[in-house]
Symmetry: C2
Subunit: 285 residues, 2 copies
């Protein structure tokens, strides 16, 4: 039987609770989410569950990481279902602040990185990572975790959070949780809910392209451009798709890797219909 899930709505109450837990010598493991939870999120909870005495999840659809014309208002929400799922994975606390309790009147302080956001998703989403860095900084200061777990599906976000934590000196261990996939390979994402039946079929092309790229590397192809061109052609065969980017990058700096003679990570973003999907994978070891 699942234990009781404590729901905390205000930033002040969450911070007081974190202070109390720390004073009592408890360790806090944290999974920030935007809700509409799926098995990907729950796998992060399982990882966090093992890393702290108290598992805190947050549900907050962060307005500052959506650009103009993006899907802030349409972003799927189902709080009741989320609560039931969090109780099932034995989360202790769920923190569900309102936007105006995070972005208080007169709010004007932002955390931004200078380089890592100017690549991959940051190119088509120019304000996105400043919003992510700012809200994660604030959530860390409120929840005061010892450990926080982020999904590797949002790979650039994971790299940025690791950099931010190191740069600012947060005393927090950042862990990446492996991408969870549908049986046909599609990475789980709350945005998959937007896909029509036909789009859902096309959407498998992201993961298949990544697998194709990994196979090409195994087969000895070393020119990134060759691999990217082949993947792009493959994706274009799928109805309703439009490639935003396909990139082969250094796993830490996210700088382009032209020849696969060093660690290389492929990341891609594809619009399927009007839904923007992302995926990524390491191409070598």
């Amino acid at each position: 039987m699942p234990h009781e899930l404590e729901i905390i709505k205000s930033t002040a109450a969450m911070q007081a609770r974190a202070r109390e837990l720390r004073a009592a010598g408890k360790t806090i493991a944290f999974v920030p989410t935007m809700g509409y939870l799926h098995a990907g999120h729950l796998s992060l909870m399982e990882i966090a569950r093992e890393r702290g005495d108290i598992l805190v999840a947050s549900i907050f659809v962060n307005p500052t990481q959506f650009g103009p014309g993006e899907d802030l208002d349409a972003y799927p929400r189902d709080m009741a279902r989320d609560m039931a799922l969090l109780a099932e994975v034995n989360a202790d606390i769920v923190f569900t602040p309102e936007p105006d309790d995070i972005y208080i009147p007169g709010f004007e302080t932002y955390v931004a990185l200078e380089n890592l956001p100017n690549r991959l998703c940051g190119l088509s989403r120019p304000v996105h990572f400043r919003g992510v860095a700012t809200v994660v900084t604030k959530l860390f200061l409120i929840v005061q975790p010892h450990t926080a777990v982020f999904g590797l599906k949002d790979y650039q976000q994971y790299v940025i959070i690791k950099r931010l934590v190191k740069d600012l000196g947060f005393d927090i261990r950042i862990l990446g949780g492996p991408t969870v996939r549908e049986p046909d390979g599609l990475a789980l994402s709350s945005r998959n809910a937007y896909l029509s039946k036909a789009e859902r079929e096309s959407a498998t092309c992201l993961n298949r392209a990544l697998a194709m790229a990994a196979q090409m590397v195994t087969d000895g192809i070393v020119e990134s451009n060759d691999i990217i061109a082949r993947c792009e052609a493959f994706i274009k065969e799928h109805p309703g798709t439009r490639v935003d980017y396909i990139a082969i990058v250094d796993p830490d700096s996210l700088a382009d890797v032209d020849r696969i003679d060093r660690p290389a990570h492929m990341a891609l973003a594809v619009k399927v219909g009007s839904t923007r999907l992302i995926d990524n994978r390491r191409l070598n070891e």
Copy 2:
């Protein structure tokens, strides 16, 4: 007899010490400085001394808050004297990191405010407050204070730090310490060391202009422009001076106050020879 001053040089050691102090239930009061301590700093230490079990001071001449052509390299330093003064005021710990331990290789994360820096000193020092906000954020995460004390002499900095702490949700109380002055009214500043004898005489014009403005308000003059013009004319009578700005602003938002029918704060910056001096004071209650 002064007690032992603990000197901590590395960020990792300081953070570990702060963690240990907090786990032992101690409260930490913090005074960040750029060293070359004077009675103004020491008065902040006295305030902090009363507010926490452990008084931590930092000495760090922060390179990112100096613009090109500013006085980073010339900034006065005297570590031995600083240590003696800190021991005298019974500081417990002094944190003296090296620049490359704060700005680690690949550092690229900055904290910036959108509005408050675009006024007063921010106009002639465009990168200054981003550097201040970033280093203070990092120092807070390393030293983990319950209370931090900043000098009201740097009034815009004080307002910005209070805003940053509120916006990001730092669980830290920010206190402002009154400006300490020479017998003739000159605000204490490490930069006063740059002044020649003649410049030192001219430098009294900042505080005298503030007193003149406060007297004008007492006398019922309500147009800020009248007050500012009179102060500017007065300052110009002093050899070697060049006004950077004289402003009458709201004490919280730092927005210009055109008529003194609400709380009003005067701030000014004047170059005396090649030394830029600042001062400020509340004009009414």
